[in-house]
């Protein structure tokens, strides 16, 4: 192997080693959330959320589609909450399809959204801005 090629392989090896360390840290780091596992009911809600492509239109922490509103804190928002969520699920308002969720399924979706709500804020209205362009987020931990 030529020395030029050796150098390139060495740089790639260093980068891959750094990536391995970095991945382990990302995969195992405790985030700024309350470290609570999803309950069985919430896991069922997560499955329904995925199987019905709710993410196509709705966002969690601003990630998802933009046809519908962000639902990160819908459970704790004033004038919203569990009944508000349930009322929307089977009503088919505007472009939202009419779902036929059973009461048990509606409760599962509410449990999932309630859990998400407990992990943090979005939009993060009380975040602090630094002159360096950095933003310190307000967390629920």
């Amino acid at each position: 192997m030529s020395s030029k090629r050796q150098k390139k392989v060495l740089i790639i090896s260093v980068l891959i080693t750094l990536l391995c360390v970095y991945n382990i840290l990302v995969y195992t780091s405790n985030n700024c959330e309350k470290p609570v596992k999803l309950s069985l009911e919430a896991l069922h809600g997560q499955k329904l959320w995925q199987n019905n492509n709710c993410w196509s239109c709705h966002q969690i922490y601003g990630l998802g589609g933009y046809l519908g509103p962000d639902l990160t804190n819908v459970h704790s928002s004033p004038n919203k909450g569990a009944n508000y969520i349930k009322a929307f699920l089977n009503s088919g308002i505007k472009s939202m399809p009419k779902f036929n969720f059973s009461e048990e399924e509606k409760n599962a979706i509410v449990a999932y959204l309630k859990h998400i709500d407990s992990t943090g804020y979005y939009p993060n209205y009380d975040a602090d801005f630094s002159f360096t362009g950095w933003v310190n987020l307000k967390t629920k931990k």
Partner: protein, 441 residues
């Protein structure tokens, strides 16, 4: 022409592109007429169809281009020609299965990979076969690799890793913890896009060196410095997607430091190449050159946008709005698609030298493409600014009221999106017809 397998990839890539724009247009109609196709093809189904189709366009055209260059331009003896065919049939069958999965509503996946996760296995096998064939072919036949060979090798390898990473949510360790789950999901998506960018930017550099007829574009310390910087970006620069998730701040610090330098990388390379190109070179590959110049313009626009929202204080206001969509459309259409169309023009010029690139449809299509995409992009930016204003600077206005106030902007998004769709049809159809003719001959 002996081995036509690369053309099969390119033909199906163009078909995916055409399907993608149809699904994209239908989706945009639902922003202005919410009841449109709501019962048969709601937005929740249309979006996965659109995303799957356009991702297929990028992946298939990049793969087909690389196979074509290695077999027909570089004249390398492939390790296994059978593996190329097997790779194509695996991708074709998986593609059909994915469409069936979406049509039947068997969508157990997530955003961007909505299909049932079991279908990830054949996709991974396809990439693995591509990787084995690629490395085995180059190993003994090419010494002192130019940068594009490194980029393609990197793209294939990291595509396998990050596609697997995108499915880590199947394990309870990730699935049971919301923030970890979302963090890893978006980490994989960011790096997944970085991986296909390696393939596409490698194609851009390859085309530049062939158009200029000078391989020094793809060699030298500077170009490799930028390659390694791009690789570092692929690995660590994903977290600007997740600045607002309550994950550990150090992950965001790393991303803030490294994020988005890859635009500077390609801009620098193209700028240096354009400066030294002779008029004769440009005329020989006229259409490929024009599309590469279009991508140059979009790199510049996206560079400004990307640099701005890699600053957390600006990202705070742009995240979760159509400004993010403007950025992703600018990159996938403005940069990736223009480079890949340049590649298809290059391929067609090689297999059918008499192909008339100055025909009316292509010339006008290219003009319409540039104008429509720019206006489409501006409309998305306006929609994003208005949504951000609603999120942070207005009170007591419902989401539905905000959406209603954006009606005119959504109409403009549809109109310019329609223009974009027409232009892509005008450009793709003559290419597709020629490719099919050559395939049949």
């Amino acid at each position: 022409m002996k081995n036509k397998s690369p053309l099969l990839f390119v033909i199906f890539a163009l078909i995916s592109l055409l399907l993608g724009i149809v699904f994209g247009l239908l989706s945009s109609v639902q922003y202005i007429i919410p009841e449109f196709l709501k019962e048969t093809l709601p937005f929740s189904k249309l979006r996965p169809f659109h995303v799957t189709s356009v991702v297929s366009w990028i992946v298939l055209s990049a793969t087909g281009s690389i196979y074509f260059y290695l077999i027909h331009i570089e004249k390398l003896n492939f390790f296994s020609k059978k593996l190329i065919k097997t790779h194509f049939f695996i991708f074709l069958c998986t593609g059909i299965a994915i469409y069936a999965s979406l049509l039947l509503g068997k969508m157990e996946g997530r955003e961007y990979l909505a299909y049932t996760p079991i279908l990830t296995i054949p996709i991974l096998i396809g990439w693995l076969l591509f990787g084995v064939n690629y490395f085995k072919t180059l190993k003994n036949q090419v010494s002192n690799w130019p940068v594009y060979y490194w980029m393609w090798g990197t793209g294939i390898t990291f595509m396998i890793y990050h596609l697997s990473e995108a499915n880590l949510w199947l394990f309870p360790y990730f699935k049971n913890h919301i923030v970890r789950d979302v963090t890893v999901q978006w980490k994989s998506y960011g790096s997944f896009v970085g991986s296909w960018n390696m393939l596409v930017y490698g194609i851009a550099i390859y085309l530049m060196s062939k158009i200029k007829n000078d391989n020094s574009v793809a060699r030298g310390k500077t170009v490799f410095f930028f390659y390694f910087l791009g690789l570092a970006n692929l690995m660590f620069g994903w977290a600007h997607h997740t600045y607002l998730i309550p994950m550990q701040p150090w992950i965001r610090y790393v991303a803030y430091a490294i994020s988005m330098t890859e635009w500077i990388i390609l801009l620098n390379i193209i700028y240096g190449w354009k400066k030294s190109l002779t008029k004769e070179n440009r005329e020989n590959y006229c259409m490929a050159y024009r599309f590469l110049m279009t991508s140059d313009f979009w790199i510049f626009l996206n560079l400004i946008l990307a640099l701005l929202f890699s600053i957390p204080a600006i990202n705070f206001f742009t995240h979760g709005t159509h400004i993010t969509v403007a950025h992703s459309m600018g990159t996938t259409i403005g940069i990736n698609t223009t480079i890949l169309l340049a590649s298809v023009f290059f391929i067609v010029s090689k297999i059918k030298p008499s192909f008339n690139i100055n025909q009316f449809a292509i010339k006008k299509g290219h003009l319409l493409f540039r104008v429509s995409l720019f206006l489409f992009w501006c409309s998305l930016l306006i929609a994003g600014i208005k949504k951000s204003h609603w999120m942070y600077f207005s009170e007591n206005i419902l989401f539905s009221e905000m959406q209603d106030s954006l009606y005119a902007v959504y109409i403009s998004i549809f109109v310019f999106g329609f223009g974009l769709a027409i232009s892509i049809v005008m450009i793709s159809f003559p290419l597709l017809k020629t490719l099919i003719k050559v395939l049949k001959s």
